[in-house]
């Protein structure tokens, strides 16, 4: 629990995969993710979602989808957590 705030894990991932969209699609399919496309103008960064992972969890749940973190084609992967943001 960080300063009163507990992370909420989503079923969205950010990944960095070189080799283009097809390569990203291949990796996504391999672990059961859906590739929602490049993240804005960040080259090689893709937005994945896993339909078999709960949408909001207090912990980062392990399972076959976790193997993506070890795939050598995946340079970096980050499960998305909900960031509390307030309007000013």
């Amino acid at each position: 629990v960080v300063s009163g705030h507990r992370d909420v894990y989503t079923n969205h991932w950010a990944v960095r995969i070189t080799g283009g969209q097809e390569q990203a699609d291949k990796i996504a399919a391999k672990y059961g993710y859906m590739n929602l496309g490049q993240i804005g103008s960040l080259d090689d960064h893709y937005h994945f979602r896993h339909s078999r992972v709960v949408r909001r969890a207090a912990y980062s749940l392990k399972g076959p989808h976790s193997f993506i973190h070890m795939d050598p084609e995946v340079e970096w992967a980050q499960q998305q957590v909900v960031k509390p943001r307030v309007k000013r």
Partner: protein, 804 residues
């Protein structure tokens, strides 16, 4: 006429007369309107062709005061993943924020609706991204929407302002900021404007907000009509400037557009300050569309003024700028900015100089203060990093401490200016400390970088604490941003078109002139002494470029001006025979002669290939480009290819395979690579391949085993059936349908139900819905084949429908 007659501009918008922050003509009241927006309009600047977008909860594009300026190309719905950023309407009116901010920027003028925007002819869009789960991806996507079309992104939100949160942009969002700065606006850099924070009452400090303390965002605070500190205002050292906003109950408020096509003066908070400055920057970009993101920040520093803003911490830094932790360099001045912008010369390239004091842990004792100093030359030894004139200064700290809110952190510059990076925060009792947190200050803007910098950490316990538990400063890094030349000096390199009189700084020389054949100077003898670098043939003046010949080396050409030097600058080598500086080969920074294979070191962006002493922008296979040494260094075996570091592999030699960026021996099936032991160790017997020895670390299952979630079993547990699995050679245990204990496959194939459920047509029905009126009676009904009758079926549901 426009200048002299302030009433020259009058709009029919109903709230025009309430907009004291733009104009105040009634001489009776003591009103002051020092942002000089009207004066900028009177000079013809209204934001034409400039594109602004609001990152928030959406924009009501059909609002009568927005519709005419609304730009769908500057809009997107990240929450809904479509092109319509219309806010979600709900009974609590939660999503009013974006529409209110949008109106401050570009509400249409003279349309008999509500208000007039600061840049009432600008294009305005909205990016709906707060109305849902806000993640790093959501923020990064929002900041990267059409960076070549949108000029200014305005945001009035951030981490909680509760006085105990330390939070900021995630890795993707940081990259999105950098991407926008590097590539946005066709390389001029996107402009990011941020509202500094509403945590004043909670004693919050906006240095704990990573968005406002990011060097790429312009952090804006608020003041009231009379120049008072609004109750909600947070302080910090990264605030660049301030605007009027709503404040105390007895002072006038800001009027804004509102959701459902309304208009309101009910808004309070620092939110409006960001869009107001975004609107003013739109006026400035109209005056000079070629301003870079740093030019805009320089203009704010140069033109903002303290005027009647009340603060007890106004100070004048060594560059003569007046600055405060509350208001930055003061109230923005739209007219002064557009006037400066018209004649602005882009500032020189940004340089970055990082310095880390010697690494040693320094304990922080309760009730005492710790000082840690570092003396820097401003990286003058490296022309590409040399910072002489400061812009932003960042201090990255790694501090462990039992109660973070007890800390105050100050930074003192070589000129003696003191900037408070962090004040105590009463509500912050976290024992997390600061982990590589970056504090930023703009208070040293324009000062010289060279000299001793002192970081001061004061620990004053606000509550009883265990005195034995000490905090400690594990590490800190000083990061100086700025330029190697005076950005405002007309004589500095990028301004002057006259001949180079002094020896220009090395980085200008690397692309310097080719040598020309030497011409004899036709000069008259002078009686005054020549420059020390002149040879025995006298000179035509006192300087090194007046010599007739040189003691050491001559450099330059007739066109660009030739001079005598003791040593040749970077990019040139000393030709002893002709005693001239001759240019090295492209990419070389130092060389022994002029051919490609004579390089001794390389320029930034090139790397010395030690195999042939040449400078290349890419290294041969098996080598990686080391940024610090600017050399191609060998990858560490068994890396075949590596990236940035010798052991960050991207390809391995025979017999090894990549795990992440590490080459691990290819272990045969049934074994895995044990990182600690660096050997192949056996998997669990149920695994065919695995990531470790445990039965829960299988990747693929052994022969005759089934994958049950992330284990391999010989038979599926109750409630599961075995079936094929896509993409893996073994079978998997798939879950039967709800409340079924055993089944033969997917769908209604149940053969046994959970307690409390009955099996009906191979599916499980909860007993409460299917019971018997009387067991004996129903047995009789069944034996007399009366179940076909609907009436009997209802009385004897379980007996008649069960097919067990």
């Amino acid at each position: 006429q426009a200048q002299s007659d302030p009433s020259f501009i009058h709009f029919n918008d109903p709230k025009w007369s309430n907009m004291w922050y733009i104009h105040c003509n009634d001489k009776s009241s003591r009103c002051r309107s020092e942002m000089n927006i009207l004066a900028a309009w009177q000079r013809g600047y209204t934001g034409k062709n400039v594109v602004v977008t609001i990152l928030d909860d959406g924009i009501e594009m059909n609002h009568p005061d927005l519709a005419q300026n609304y730009d769908h190309l500057a809009s997107y719905d990240v929450n809904g993943n479509d092109h319509d950023p219309t806010p979600r309407y709900d009974s609590r009116n939660e999503n009013i924020h974006g529409t209110r901010c949008a109106g401050e920027v570009a509400a249409v003028a003279n349309n008999s609706h509500c208000i007039v925007g600061v840049a009432y002819n600008a294009h305005i869009g909205g990016i709906r991204m707060l109305d849902g789960d806000v993640t790093d991806i959501v923020e990064a996507k929002s900041l990267g929407i059409r960076p070549d079309y949108i000029d200014i992104y305005s945001a009035s939100w951030g981490p909680k302002d509760d006085g105990k949160t330390v939070d900021g942009p995630g890795p993707l969002t940081k990259q999105a900021f950098e991407q926008g700065i590097k590539k946005g606006r066709k390389g001029l850099g996107s402009i990011f404007v941020w509202a500094s924070g509403n945590g004043g009452r909670q004693g919050d400090h906006c240095s704990c907000d990573g968005y406002t303390s990011n060097i790429y965002t312009i952090s804006i605070s608020s003041t009231t009509e009379n120049g008072n500190k609004p109750w909600y205002l947070e302080v910090c050292s990264s605030i660049m400037a301030t605007t009027y906003s709503s404040g105390e109950f007895n002072e006038r408020k800001i009027v804004t557009t509102d959701l459902r096509q309304h208009c309101t003066d009910g808004h309070t908070g620092t939110s409006v300050s960001a869009p107001i400055v975004a609107g003013i920057i739109a006026l400035v970009l109209e005056a000079n569309l070629l301003l870079t993101w740093r030019d805009v920040q320089h203009l704010l520093v140069k033109t903002s003024r303290p005027v009647h803003l009340k603060a007890d911490d106004w100070m004048i830094n060594a560059a003569g700028h007046t600055v405060s932790h509350l208001y930055g360099f003061g109230l923005v001045d739209a007219e002064a900015m557009v006037l400066e912008a018209r004649k602005w010369m882009t500032v020189p390239h940004q340089h970055t100089c990082s310095q880390i004091p010697e690494r040693r842990t320094r304990y922080i004792h309760a009730g005492q203060s710790l000082n840690s100093s570092i003396t820097t030359t401003g990286c003058s030894e490296d022309p590409e990093q040399h910072v002489d004139y400061l812009e932003h200064v960042v201090v990255k700290v790694l501090v462990v401490h039992p109660r973070r809110g007890d800390l105050e952190i100050n930074l003192i510059s070589p000129s003696g200016t003191r900037s408070q990076l962090l004040a105590k925060r009463l509500f912050d009792s976290s024992n997390e400390g600061f982990r590589n947190w970056e504090f930023m200050t703009v208070h040293f803007w324009g000062e010289r970088a060279e000299g001793t910098w002192t970081l001061e950490i004061i620990d004053s316990p606000s509550k009883l604490r265990n005195a034995e538990v000490l905090g400690n400063l594990k590490e800190w890094t000083l990061i100086l941003y700025g330029t190697s030349q005076n950005p405002y000096q007309p004589g500095s390199a990028q301004h002057s078109h006259s001949r180079m009189l002094e020896i220009p700084a090395p980085e200008e020389i690397l692309d310097g002139p080719e040598l020309d054949e030497e011409d004899e100077y036709n000069v008259t003898q002078t009686s005054r002494p020549c420059h020390s670098e002149c040879g025995n043939q006298a000179c035509d003046g006192p300087k090194a470029d007046h010599c007739l010949n040189c003691v050491h080396f001559s450099f330059g050409s007739l066109k660009s001006g030739r001079t005598c030097v003791s040593h040749c600058p970077l990019g040139y080598y000393e030709d002893i025979v002709s005693r001239r500086c001759r240019r090295c080969y492209k990419g070389c920074e130092r060389c022994a002669a002029r051919s490609a294979g004579d390089c001794l070191s390389c320029r930034r962006g090139f790397y010395l290939n030690i195999l042939n002493s040449s400078c290349t922008d890419t290294c041969p296979p098996g080598y990686f480009a080391d940024e610090n040494q600017r050399q191609c260094l060998k990858c560490l075996d068994p890396c075949m290819r590596c990236l940035r570091y010798a052991d960050r592999c991207t390809a391995c030699r025979e017999g090894y395979s990549l795990a992440g960026m590490t080459c691990v021996p290819e272990c045969t099936n049934g074994t895995f690579f044990h990182l600690e032991e660096m050997t192949c160790s056996p998997c669990h017997s149920s695994c065919r391949t695995c990531t470790g020895p445990g039965k829960e670390e299988c990747i693929q299952c052994a022969e005759d085993y089934l994958q049950q979630e992330w284990r391999c079993v010989q038979t599926c547990i109750p409630g599961y059936y075995s079936g094929e699995a896509a993409g893996v050679p073994h079978k998997m245990c798939h879950r039967c349908e709800e409340n079924c204990l055993s089944c033969s496959g997917p769908g209604t194939t149940c053969t046994k139900c959970k307690e409390g459920y009955s099996l009906v047509s191979r599916t499980c029905i909860v007993n409460a819905f299917c019971n018997n009126a009387d067991e004996v009676f129903c047995e009789m009904v069944k034996s007399n084949r009366l179940c076909e009758k609907k009436l009997y079926r209802q009385f004897c549901c379980r007996t008649c429908l069960m097919n067990g």
